[in-house]
């Protein structure tokens, strides 16, 4: 039962572009994912316009697992907590491994549903920008390789970005948009690998550490 305990939502160190985004202590992965996604969304829009004037309770449910979370929007504060324990104004069913894409139509109030979907679908950054950001976050992960080589196979051919310096290298190659998704946390690294669209070269141990780095950008753990 203790896994169901809902802790008090706590404020992030700094509000994101004027929006106070809070997640509970000891938050579950879905709560962390939603909180980080909303923060990215607010940053991308460079304003709190998305949240301003909107209030309500939104349930977010995974389409294929029991994962669920509640988003509460009120007075410019967005709070995310585990599970759904009160009657929501809107219920969204989403694919957590497809960038929170809706599965079916939202149930509930239209404006709130639209706002919620907007909050959960930030634009992807450029893959090279995302790689730089990823690398900055990954440097603190114990055991991370010295150098990350990202190879994008786009419509104009191969493009490569090398970040870091040193002796140990790790290569990740794939379509630019999928690289952007992995490096920004929008896509899960292991799920992406299972699609066959991503290739990696390095040791098994390095892959394990890269997974830790991907959790850092995706879930902030």
């Amino acid at each position: 039962m203790t896994e169901t305990t809902i802790g008090h939502a706590t404020c992030e160190a700094d509000a994101v572009d004027g929006v106070d985004i809070r997640i509970e202590d000891d938050a579950s992965p879905i709560v962390r994912l939603i909180g980080r996604t909303i923060a990215d969304s607010v940053r991308a829009h460079r304003a709190d316009a998305v949240v301003a004037g909107v209030e309500g309770i939104v349930a977010v449910r995974s389409h294929d697992t029991p994962q669920a979370a509640t988003i509460s929007i009120s007075n410019g504060v967005v709070a995310v907590s585990s599970g759904v324990f009160i009657s929501p104004d809107v219920t969204l069913t989403v694919d957590l491994n497809a960038r929170l894409a809706p599965v079916g139509e939202p149930a509930g109030e239209g404006d709130l549903a639209a706002t919620s979907l907007a909050l959960l679908s930030p634009p992807l950054p450029d893959w090279q920008v995302a790689a730089e950001t990823f690398w900055a976050a990954a440097r603190s992960v114990p055991g991370i390789p010295d150098v990350l080589v990202a190879v994008a196979d786009g419509p104009d051919g191969l493009d490569q970005l090398v970040v870091g310096e040193g002796e140990t290298h790790y290569v990740i190659a794939g379509p630019p948009e999928l690289l952007a998704g992995i490096f920004s946390g929008a896509d899960d690294l292991i799920a992406a690998l299972s699609t066959g669209l991503i290739g990696v070269r390095g040791t098994l141990s390095q892959l394990s550490v890269l997974v830790a780095a991907s959790w850092k950008v995706r879930y902030d753990v």
Binding site: S28, P66, L204
Partner: protein
């Protein structure tokens, strides 16, 4: 051949198989069967096991999300070295031997539970102490066969012995008595001494007490006794589980009792209460209990037990003869003065639990750590008592940050263990576990049979 059988029980010289046995970090009893000729040829040098025995989770997936130690490469091999003092006859023709895992350069694999426990036992010995350990094995029996249980997803099973659960109840149906009697007979046949067995609190639940002894021998007996309980269940067409909470009802524990001896005298005994040695041991245990919780409550389900008033401790407390506290001191008798460490769940790996407990004790003795005041009131529901970590992530974070346990157990073990617990947390949430259920199907599938 002759060398092998000469060290065995001598009841059957016609050995056809030797079973190599050891627990992995999750407490699963793993091994392989080798021909006597192969055993004789490699007993000295060791047997190759793929490092994945420490690298797969209970769902058979490779664990990711942390830096591997040097020995864990691309499914490289580690060496199983049998401890010949454990060689015995399991059944006619089948011998059993417990061992440890070593790297090819002769250094111990840092996550090998038996090596780790022995390291702490040896460290205690350098302080002039020997430890005596006792363990309570709790398990729940179900009427269905393992095949029926698997077909039902381990849910909605029928408790063996009736649906009423009452501790010490003697009015149990014969099938329940027959099972435990058969277990006791099998233990006697293979030379594991037991002291008692009884009805435990929940329907179908049993408690089995093995004879106290030196820590490694007791851990070995614990691993084998659980194997016996499984095999007897298979034979009688029933099912047994050591899940921390196999149903939404009662959980089950694995309390560890510990006493220390110096020069053959119980060092925990004093006429007027805890001896200074006992006080310092308690001080060390409480100083490390937050981080140690990760080790003795290893799985997601382990934490579902931690409910006030339901039996398990929930606070960082000790008391004299107070079973609501995490550490219970039994005082006043030169033979029986001891500590009962009440946090471990039935799913704990006893080798690791013993290592964690001895780590706290040694730190307490080295630092002469004085414990806080004992709790004489009820230690549940109290608003001013520090709580034990109540999730796998909080406990892992506490272990990661504990300098004492890092020093005693080693960075390699701590980092590896914390990494595997974070993986377990991530798997639970993202691969089908339901935190809002009283007990999710994912947990039943993952933990009912293993560890």
């Amino acid at each position: 051949m002759s060398e092998i059988t000469a060290t065995a029980t001598d009841r059957d010289a016609a050995v056809h198989t030797v079973r190599l046995e050891a627990t992995n970090h999750d407490g699963s009893f793993l091994g392989k069967n080798v021909a006597p000729k192969k055993f004789a040829a490699s007993a000295e040098s060791g047997f190759a096991f793929a490092d994945l025995l420490f690298g797969l989770d209970l769902g058979n997936d490779p664990t990711f999300g942390f830096a591997y130690p040097d020995w864990r490469g691309h499914l490289a091999d580690v060496q199983f070295r049998p401890d010949m003092s454990t060689l015995m006859q399991w059944e006619p023709g089948l011998q059993s031997v417990i061992g440890d895992y070593w790297q090819t350069d002769g250094t111990p694999v840092g996550t090998c539970p038996r090596n780790l426990a022995r390291k702490l036992v040896d460290r205690l010995a350098t302080r002039g102490f020997t430890a005596t350990v006792a363990v309570e094995i709790e398990a729940t029996l179900f009427q269905e066969s393992i095949h029926e249980a698997r077909a039902k997803g381990y849910r909605d099973l029928t408790p063996l012995g009736g649906s009423a659960g009452t501790a010490y109840h003697l009015a149990k149906s014969k099938d329940w008595v027959d099972y435990m009697s058969a277990v006791a007979r099998r233990l006697e046949e293979i030379g594991i001494e037991w002291e008692a067995w009884s009805d435990e609190d929940a329907a179908g639940q049993v408690e089995l007490n093995l004879v106290p002894g030196d820590p490694i021998s007791v851990c070995d007996a614990w691993a084998r006794a659980r194997q016996v309980m499984r095999e007897v269940a298979f034979e009688l067409g029933h099912t047994v589980t050591f899940m921390a909470k196999p149903t939404a009802g009662y959980g089950q524990a694995s309390h560890v009792n510990l006493s220390l001896q110096r020069d053959g005298v119980n060092a925990f005994y004093a006429e007027d209460g805890p001896s200074p040695t006992m006080r310092h041991a308690i001080g060390g245990l409480l100083a490390t209990i937050q981080g140690a919780t990760s080790i003795v409550l290893p799985q997601i389900t382990s934490y579902r037990r931690l409910v006030d008033l339901s039996g398990p401790p929930t606070t960082v407390t000790w008391g004299i003869s107070n079973k609501t506290t995490a550490v219970r001191a039994v005082c006043g008798h030169p033979a029986y003065s001891r500590l009962e460490y009440r946090v471990p769940g039935a799913d704990a790996n006893l080798y690791l639990a013993v290592a964690a407990i001895l780590a706290g004790v040694i730190a307490g003795l080295d630092g002469a750590i004085e414990p806080p005041e004992p709790v004489s009131d009820m230690a549940w529901c109290a608003p001013d008592l520090e709580r034990l970590p109540n999730t796998i992530t909080k406990a892992a974070a506490a272990l990661e940050a504990d300098p004492i346990l890092r020093e005693q157990l080693g960075d390699e073990f701590v980092d590896y263990w914390v990494g595997t617990r974070r993986w377990e947390w991530m798997q639970f949430h993202t691969a089908g576990g339901d935190p809002c259920a009283e007990l999710s199907e994912w947990e039943s599938t993952r933990y009912f049979e293993f560890p």
